[in-house]
């Protein structure tokens, strides 16, 4: 991988982040309610509104406001939450840390489960093991996260069974065992849905690889089935699997939003929904920007991993 490629990808990440920030800011500018009205209520006097508008800089043209907001963001200042009156930055960053824990645990489990499942299905193509995996993944792909999460919650956290807590969060620094206990159900939900997506893709990649010429050549050389499967076909299917997992990070982010809402988990998704319900602009902008940038960075990392692992790829 060349330095030029790295720079090119990094600069396109910056451009994406810039455009996304403009979109996020632009969308929130279209909101019907003005922040000053939100703070003072609908019975505020014209004078009070005008004073507050001037203090918040809301009487200035949109691009000046954007620049104020954006230069603040670059310094880690995301503004003041209209709902709580506290700084958005620390709130959203600690929420981001919590969400990242959910997402990383889910990604780890998905990689450990879905790749073997996909390989198994492809190797046993057309046989009961393949049918079983395909059927389960069809089911998983067709079950929205909120349905699965609610069903798991109603079942495993019910007073009768009580295996897991129904909601809330305990920091890992406080008590890691209880922390794991609290994230178990949200992570399980995310893992099941994502595994269904990824194992389907891994299966179809693996099937293609098993039919390719070099695998046939390896078989014709008299190598054992096992050796062909693990030493020839598998390494070639792992690369696309990385891309598939990276593409599914978009799903994962959507899933995190939903799952946090179901389990009352204090992450970015929950803050985002609260911000939308309360028209809390600064929080909405910060949450949306953070998620979009995370997605872009994840895609960049996947590209780089692909480049490092596959020696044949020569990026210009």
């Amino acid at each position: 991988m060349s330095l030029g490629f790295l720079l090119k990808r990094l600069s396109s990440l910056v451009v994406t982040a810039l455009i996304v920030s403009v979109i996020v800011f632009g969308i929130t500018q279209l909101l019907p309610a003005n922040a000053a009205t939100m703070i003072l209520g609908e019975y505020a006097t014209e004078d009070a509104l005008a004073t507050l508008n001037a203090r918040l800089g809301l009487d200035q043209p949109a691009w000046v406001q954007y620049w104020h907001w954006f230069s603040g963001v670059l310094h880690g200042d995301f503004g003041i939450s209209l709902r709580t009156g506290q700084a958005v930055g620390p709130t959203i960053l600690s929420a981001f840390g919590n969400s990242a824990i959910l997402a990383l645990f889910a990604l780890l489990l998905v990689s450990l489960v879905s790749i073997p499942l996909g390989v198994l299905a492809a190797a046993k193509r057309g046989r009961p093991a393949d049918m079983g995996v395909s059927l389960l993944s069809y089911l998983g792909v067709s079950l929205p996260e909120f349905v699965l999460a609610t069903l798991l919650l109603a079942w495993l956290a019910s007073p009768a069974i009580g295996l897991f807590p129904a909601s809330g969060y305990v920091p890992f620094s406080e008590d890691w065992l209880r922390a794991l206990h609290h994230i178990a159900l949200p992570v399980l939900t995310l893992t099941i849905v994502l595994t269904a997506h990824v194992s389907r893709m891994v299966r179809s990649e693996m099937v293609d690889t098993l039919e390719s010429d070099f695998v046939r050549a390896a078989r014709l050389r008299g190598l054992s089935r096992k050796r062909v499967l693990y030493r020839h076909a598998l390494p070639n299917s792992l690369l696309p699997a990385i891309t598939v997992i990276a593409l599914d990070i978009g799903y994962l982010i959507g899933g995190v939003i939903v799952v946090e809402e179901v389990f009352s988990f204090p992450g970015v998704g929950r803050q985002l929904i609260l911000a939308i319900q309360n028209r809390d602009l600064p929080m909405l902008q910060a949450g949306a920007l953070l998620m979009a940038v995370t997605y872009a960075v994840a895609n960049l990392l996947a590209d780089l991993a692909y480049g490092v692992l596959d020696k044949r790829i020569q990026f210009e």
Binding site: I23, S142, P144, F146, T150, L151, P159, Y295
Partner: protein, 279 residues
């Protein structure tokens, strides 16, 4: 029509396609006639039969007000399936139009449009839909519009890449040489060739639209009470989930069933229209 019949026969020859088509037709009939088929008034309270398990009287049980769950799911099929179809339609038409025009124009215009398109695609679709809804406000129809807009960039990308291939064909050059207008070339020469991959993608998107629409209602940003929209039914059922699982299980299974049907149909269509992929 010959092409349509050929596609149909190829479709029913794949197992997913046959099952998917059958299920989707059944669901469509259910959507059109479901509310009339409902055995009871979906809004009527039966206080003596609250949280009832399935029985002869209430085939799928009742909720916390004793409302018949079968009737509610049937009544809600319209606000879930039809609106999801509408959302997909909006996204497909808008995306295809942008993609075909961008691909046909090429050059600078294409580059600018696709740059913007890629930036929009860099926002996860649920997040994008949430942002649009925060502007429009919460309601069923706004959720439909939000999903339609969120689907547009992905559809535009697919339509553009197919258009780029179709543009190189001789009959397009011939039409240009004959001096046909841009609109004519796009509608008569390009559209028929671009349409089949777009339809496959749209079919798969329906499943996704059903799930997203239900998700938005579940989050309180789509359909509002007392609508029997399925996602909303689950959100309301959560308050009582430890007393009875039926109010969340019934709409949950309904959503999954619709999504599975359209996923099967979409996969079947892809195999039928692209014989190489089915081997």
């Amino acid at each position: 029509m010959n092409g349509f019949r050929r596609t149909l026969s190829a479709l029913v020859r794949t197992p997913q396609g046959a099952i998917g088509l059958l299920l989707c037709l059944l669901l469509l009939a259910l959507t059109l006639f479901g509310p009339e088929l409902a055995p009871r008034d979906p809004e009527k309270f039966h206080f003596t039969a609250r949280f009832a398990a399935p029985s002869a009287e209430f085939p799928l049980g009742t909720d916390w007000y004793g409302r018949d769950l079968l009737s509610r799911v049937l009544a809600g099929s319209r606000s879930t399936i039809l609106l999801a179809l509408l959302a997909t339609f909006i996204g497909t038409v808008a995306g295809a139009a942008i993609g075909i025009v961008s691909g046909f124009l090429g050059g600078r215009a294409d580059e600018i449009m696709m740059r913007l398109n890629d930036a929009l695609m860099a926002i996860p679709s649920l997040l994008f839909a949430l942002l649009i809804l925060s502007v429009l406000g919460s309601s069923s129809i706004n959720a439909v519009v939000a999903i339609g807009i969120a689907f547009t960039p992905g559809m535009a990308r697919i339509a553009r890449s197919v258009t780029l291939q179709a543009r190189e064909f001789d009959y397009v050059s011939a039409a240009k040489a004959r001096g046909e207008g841009t609109a004519w070339i796009i509608l008569a020469e390009l559209l028929p060739n671009v349409i089949s991959p777009v339809i496959v993608e749209a079919t798969i998107r329906v499943a996704f639209a059903v799930m997203t629409l239900a998700t938005l209602s579940f989050l309180g940003l789509g359909a509002q009470p007392p609508s029997p929209e399925w996602g909303l039914m689950i959100a309301e059922g959560r308050d009582h989930m430890f007393r009875s699982p039926w109010p969340i299980l019934v709409p949950g299974v309904a959503i999954a069933l619709v999504a599975i049907s359209f996923n099967l149909l979409g996969d079947g269509l892809r195999d039928a229209l692209n014989p190489q992929a089915s081997s």
